[in-house]
Every structure is written in structure tokens, then in C-alpha cells.
């Protein structure tokens, strides 16, 4: 285990966390997609470094899947969707950025506290980053809650999956291959369904604002 690869992994982990923060505070849909793509690139880079440092060849395969799926295919699909829906230049106005950032910081501290005792037990060279992975998951989770438009919500969902994937790499050198393939398939099918849904929602409500989806409530 060289210290350089350890440093590199930490570096990419920090990039992931920064991008997660950038996402929760970003109002423009187009920038969100760019951030998501960058997150995918950081994820691939981190996975390749772990694979190189440990000689786990199956990690190269999962890095390849991530590259195809999260750097090319899904961003391409998202671009198509926002073009066809005409929301490329949409700006969401309702989020309160300072508060969101503060809550985000609390979430990061919480995740580090939660993950610290666990990550010491891991045998992975990337174990220090488990806290970052958990923080990314929780930040994306918060993004899904705070957004009221469909596209940012979906990007939050995808970014949460990025965090989970990174957690798997950080904690255990990735899941078994068959599981990883299954997860990739689920994510791909999921995003396709969500994409189709957005068109239906727009057709029904003339808007992609999820706040319209509040008819079903308890009286």
C-alpha cells in the first residue's frame, strides 16, 4: 500500500464530498447535471486507484461499469430529458442556501462520528473515507427532501447511489460482481422509468413541480 494511492483516494473522496455540497446549494438544473457527471468521474478515479493499489482486478470492471453508466449514459439521458422538457435553463428559487449548508455540515459531523468506530475495523486502504461516503449519502438524501422539482430530485437520488457505491469501495473493495451488476441494472432501469414519468407528470400537471403532487393526503 503506497501512501500516494492513499492520498489520491482521500483526494477523490474530498472531491466527492465537495461536489455533494455544491449540489445541495446549486439552483440551476444544468449545473446539477454537470456536478453529477463530475461526481461520476471522481468515483471512477477513486475506484481505479483502489484497484491499482490493491490489485483487485474486479474493481477495474466495476470502474468501467461506473464510467459507462454514470459518466456517459445517465448524464446523456438527463441532458436529453431536460432538452425535451425544455427545462435546461430552469432555476429553482425556493431553497435557502445558508440554512441548507449549515444542516449539511451537521450531517457531515454526524456521519464522521457514526463511521469512525466502524471504519477502524475495515481492512480496506480506503477505510478513512467511509465517513465521507456516508456523508455523501445523507447530503443527497437531504437534497431530495429540499427540492420541489422533479429533475433535481432524481439527480439527488442518483447522487445518493454514487455515495453508496463509494461506501462499498471504501469499506470492502466493492461488492461481489453479480451484486454489482444487479445494482447497476436496477439503477439504469430506475432512471429510465423516472425519465418517462417526468413526461407523464408534465402532461398531467403542465409542470414538473412536485408540489403539485400533494393531492393524496390524509384529511
Amino acid at each position: 500500500m503506497s501512501s500516494l494511492s492513499g492520498q489520491l483516494i482521500n483526494f477523490f473522496a474530498v472531491v466527492l464530498l465537495l461536489l455533494a455540497f455544491a449540489m445541495i446549494s446549486q439552483r440551476r438544473v444544468l449545473s446539477l447535471i454537470h456536478f453529477f457527471t463530475m461526481q461520476g468521474i471522481a468515483l471512477v478515479a477513486a475506484t481505479v486507484v483502489v484497484a491499482y493499489a490493491t490489485g483487485q482486478s474486479h474493481l477495474y470492471v466495476s470502474a468501467g461499469i461506473t464510467l459507462v453508466l454514470k459518466v456517459f449514459l445517465i448524464p446523456w439521458l438527463l441532458h436529453r430529458v431536460i432538452d425535451r422538457l425544455g427545462v435546461r435553463w430552469d432555476v429553482e428559487t425556493l431553497i435557502n442556501i445558508p440554512t441548507t449548508m449549515l444542516i449539511g455540515i451537521v450531517l457531515v459531523i454526524f456521519s464522521f462520528n457514526l463511521a469512525a468506530p466502524i471504519s477502524e475495523l475495515s481492512s480496506s486502504i480506503a477505510r478513512g473515507t467511509l465517513g465521507i461516503a456516508l456523508a455523501c449519502v445523507l447530503l443527497s438524501f437531504m437534497m431530495m427532501i429540499t427540492r420541489s422539482k422533479a429533475v433535481p430530485q432524481v439527480i439527488g437520488f442518483l447522487s445518493m447511489e454514487n455515495g453508496l457505491f463509494f461506501a462499498a469501495t471504501a469499506a470492502t473493495y466493492g461488492m461481489p460482481m453479480v451484486v454489482e451488476l444487479g445494482i447497476a441494472l436496477d439503477v439504469l432501469v430506475g432512471i429510465l422509468i423516472l425519465g418517462v414519468f417526468m413526461f407523464h407528470i408534465r402532461e398531467q400537471f403542465d409542470s414538473l413541480d412536485i408540489r403539485h403532487l400533494e393531492k393524496l393526503k390524509e384529511e
Binding site: A171, G190, I193
Partner: protein
């Protein structure tokens, strides 16, 4: 005979492909039922084999069948088959009403089979990772099923369902990662560290700190799919807005399978922690779900929503029973799982016909079912009495067992349970009674309702209340021993 296992999974998968091509034709309804029947027969063969030979493995231990999952496999295949029977006349009417176009029918039939496949895969796999993949795939197929009408309300329900369950199940994935991390240290990465049987063998050596956190995430994740309060919000919407056959399989099958996933995790956690943490979590959330759902029931106007809340109540009761642990409570939980599946899907069949006839799901506008269609009326009345725990139906037996065990093991919980059951009884019976016996101006149903599925289910529910066949009894005991440790 790996063949039976192969067939149980292969038939629905083949069915999904065939119906993906032909699902819009008129005969697709029969093909759908035929594939489900095939699955049921294969499941029966598998069961016979497990009874005679004990647990079996297949495909390099990736799949396994033991008393716990074989009983759920049979139940799943059975309810999937009867629901397919119910779906035949139901979808015919929906098509005549113009709610189902040929494209939608094709999607519906194909996804129905794919949903059966994902359920059975989740039950039969030995790999905790594949279990997760199958649960997520089940979410995806049911999202498409719930939104099949493409109305505003159904889109909203499906979107909520997707986002909430997507988030929930992502927590379960994190839990699975942690489980793998704990297992890898003991079993090694090569030795199939996510295979449940391997984990079960070494559960005493798993690191308790990691497992505690892993179970918390797995419980929240799969608990979302079980519909435990406070992460239940998707459930009533998805039940109310989707087609009724989908409500029946959601309540009857999907919730069970999610609870099954929690049970598998609980067995590992109990072994690793040597403490009651998993049980306590399940008791707490189970009880909360029972009580909260009972009060939600009292505020419903929509028939399917009301019975959806009743499902939350019963899933809470099962979670509570499994949390209490021990052979008796676990036995009662498994029995309750069976009778709840049977009776709740029977109720949804009846409600489906009733609301099709009345053109609404609002309970106040459905009146006098007994005159419109005695079959549907009696089905709904008996089903409601059964689900409310009236003797001699099976729900009474299992609830009685759960309550008596609770009095002994967790006496403080008993008043809450009794209160909740009382509130649920008063509010549900009060609403269903006028639906069945009230005055109506509606004419009798023009088509024959699917009475056979309703009464087969009610009959089985009645039988389980009066007499549990010895092999079934033995089966529950074995499964309970496994879960209770």
C-alpha cells in the same frame, strides 16, 4: 431436482417475456393466469421436495430453500395465481370502461409476471446482495403497475412510492455493504461472504459494532417496504391508486417478502450481538405501526386506503410478534403472515368488484352490495370480519397467540395492542356494514365476479383458524425454530 427451483423462477420470467409481446390480446388474461398456475405447480413440487428431503441448495449455493422460505414461496405463488384469476374479469371490465388501453394491458400483464419473478427471486436467493437487487426490482415493477392508469393521482402515488422506497432501499444497500464488511473479515472475500447460510454459520464471530449499525440501516430500508410507521406514507397511496389486483399482491405478497428480508437480517443480528437490540427495534416500530394505523383507519373515506392502513396495522403486529421472539410468538407471526395474505387479498378482490360496480372507491357511495351482488357482498363482509380477528377465522388464532405471548413477555404492550385492535374493529366494521347491507338503487352486476378466488382465500383462512394440518404445523415449527434461534 434443481428443476423445480429453476421452474419456479423460470416460468414467471418466461411469462413476462411472452406477455411483453402478447399482453394486449384478449387471451393474455388467460395466459397470465396459466403462467401463474405453472409457477404454483412448480412451487408445489419444490415444497414436496423440501418436506421429504430437507433444505436444498442450488447453483453453487447461490439459491437455497429451507422451511422458512419454502412456505413463503408457496404462499406467494398461490396468491399470485388467485390474483391472476381475479384479474381476468377485472381487467375485462377496466378495458370496457376505457381505463386500460391495449398498451397498458401489455405493460400490466408483463409487469405482473416480472413482479412475481422478483418476489420469488428475493425469497429463494441465498445472497443478501441479490436479495437487495430483487427488492429494488420489485419496487420498479410495482411502480409501473401502480401508475398504469396514468391518472394524476396514480402518477403522484407512483412517484411518491418510487422516491420514498428508493431512499428507503438505498439505506438497506448501505446496511448490506456494512454486513459484507463484517462478513469479509470472518469468511474472506472469496468465500461467498454475502451468502446467508455462510453468514448464519459464523454469525457469532461477526463484529457486533458493525452489525448493530448494519441492522439499523437494513431495518429502516426494508422497513420502508414493509410499511412500518413512520416510513409508511407511500403505502396507502400506492394501494389506493393502482389497479385492485396490484393492491392485492402488494398487501398479500410484497409486504411479506420485505418482512422476510428483515427476519433474515434479524437472525444474523441476534447471533452476532447476543443481545435483544433487533427484537427491541422490531417491538417498538411494530407497536407504533399497529397503534398509528388503527387511528388512521378511523379517518378514511376511500375503501382501498382503509384496507391499506389495515395492512400497515397487521404488518406492525407481525413485526411486533417477531420482535418478541421465542418459538410461540414467531409461530404466531408466521401464521399471521399466511392468514393476513389470504384474507387481505380476498378483501381487495371484493372491494375491487364493488368499486368497479359503484364507479367509486369512496365508501359512503358504495351501498347495498348484498343486493347488487351477494357474492361480493358476503365476500367483503366475511373478509372484514376475518381480518378484524373474529373467530373462527385464522386471524383470531394468530392474534390470540400474539396477545397471550405479549402478556407474558411484554405485558406493557398489551393495552396498546388491545386498544388498537378495538379502534380498528369499531371503525372498519362501522364503515363496511352499510356498504354491504345499506339501501341501493344500483342494478345487479352485469358480469360474473371472480368469486372463486375470494372464497378459496376465505375458506383457507377459516381452515387455518379451526385446523392446521400436521405438515403445515411442523413447517411453521421448523421455521419458527430457525428464526427464534
Amino acid at each position: 431436482m434443481i428443476d423445480a427451483l429453476f421452474l419456479v423462477l423460470g416460468i414467471p420470467l418466461l411469462g413476462a417475456a411472452v406477455l411483453g409481446l402478447t399482453g394486449h390480446r384478449d387471451f393474455a388474461r388467460d395466459i397470465n393466469a396459466a403462467f401463474s398456475l405453472g409457477t404454483l405447480i412448480a412451487a408445489g413440487a419444490l415444497t414436496a421436495r423440501v418436506i421429504s428431503e430437507g433444505p436444498i441448495f442450488a447453483w453453487d449455493r447461490e439459491f437455497f430453500v429451507d422451511p422458512l422460505n419454502v412456505f413463503l414461496v408457496t404462499l406467494t405463488a398461490f396468491v399470485a395465481f388467485t390474483t391472476a384469476l381475479f384479474s381476468r374479469p377485472y381487467m375485462q371490465v377496466e378495458k370496457e370502461h376505457g381505463k386500460m388501453t391495449p398498451n397498458r394491458l401489455r405493460l400490466y400483464h408483463s409487469m405482473y409476471q416480472l413482479f412475481s419473478f422478483t418476489m420469488l427471486l428475493a425469497l429463494l436467493t441465498n445472497n443478501m446482495g441479490i436479495l437487495w437487487v430483487a427488492m429494488e426490482a420489485a419496487t420498479l415493477t410495482t411502480v409501473l403497475l401502480v401508475s398504469v392508469y396514468r391518472t394524476a393521482a396514480s402518477l403522484e402515488a407512483a412517484w411518491k412510492y418510487f422516491i420514498l422506497c428508493g431512499v428507503g432501499i438505498a439505506q438497506a444497500l448501505f446496511g448490506t455493504v456494512l454486513l459484507y464488511m463484517a462478513a469479509e473479515k470472518v469468511v474472506g472475500a472469496e468465500g461467498g461472504a454475502l451468502l446467508w447460510t455462510h453468514l448464519d454459520a459464523v454469525k457469532g464471530q461477526l463484529d457486533p459494532r458493525i452489525i448493530t449499525l448494519a441492522f439499523a440501516f437494513l431495518f429502516i430500508g426494508y422497513g420502508t417496504k414493509v410499511g412500518l410507521v413512520p416510513v409508511h406514507n407511500w403505502l396507502p397511496d400506492a394501494h389506493a391508486e393502482g389497479p385492485t389486483p396490484v393492491s392485492a399482491v402488494l398487501s398479500g405478497l410484497l409486504l411479506n417478502v420485505a418482512l422476510y428480508a428483515i427476519l433474515r437480517c434479524k437472525v444474523l443480528t441476534d447471533g452476532a450481538l447476543q443481545g435483544p437490540l433487533a427484537g427491541q427495534l422490531m417491538i417498538g416500530f411494530g407497536l407504533l405501526s399497529v397503534v398509528a394505523a388503527a387511528f388512521f383507519i378511523s379517518r378514511q373515506r376511500d375503501a382501498k386506503r382503509m384496507f391499506a392502513y389495515s395492512s400497515i396495522e397487521h404488518m406492525g403486529l407481525m413485526t411486533f410478534a417477531f420482535g418478541v421472539g421465542g418459538p410461540v410468538a414467531t409461530y404466531a407471526g408466521l401464521l399471521h403472515m399466511t392468514v393476513h395474505s389470504l384474507i387481505k387479498s380476498a378483501i381487495f378482490f371484493a372491494v375491487g368488484h364493488a368499486s368497479q360496480k359503484a364507479g367509486t372507491q369512496i365508501m359512503q357511495e358504495i351501498r347495498g352490495l348484498i343486493r347488487v351482488s351477494p357474492m361480493v357482498g358476503w365476500g367483503l363482509m366475511l373478509g372484514t370480519l376475518a381480518i378484524l380477528g373474529m373467530p373462527p377465522f385464522g386471524v383470531f388464532a394468530s392474534e390470540f397467540l400474539i396477545l397471550t405471548t405479549a402478556m407474558r413477555e411484554q405485558p406493557w404492550a398489551t393495552p396498546f395492542l388491545l386498544l388498537a385492535l378495538g379502534v380498528a374493529f369499531a371503525s372498519m366494521f362501522g364503515r363496511v356494514q352499510p356498504m354491504v347491507f345499506g339501501e341501493t338503487a344500483l342494478k345487479p352486476l352485469p358480469h360474473q365476479p371472480a368469486a372463486i378466488p375470494v372464497f378459496i382465500h376465505l375458506g383457507l383462512g377459516l381452515m387455518l383458524g379451526l385446523y392446521i394440518p400436521p405438515y403445515l404445523d411442523e413447517w411453521y415449527r421448523q421455521a419458527a425454530r430457525m428464526v427464534a434461534g
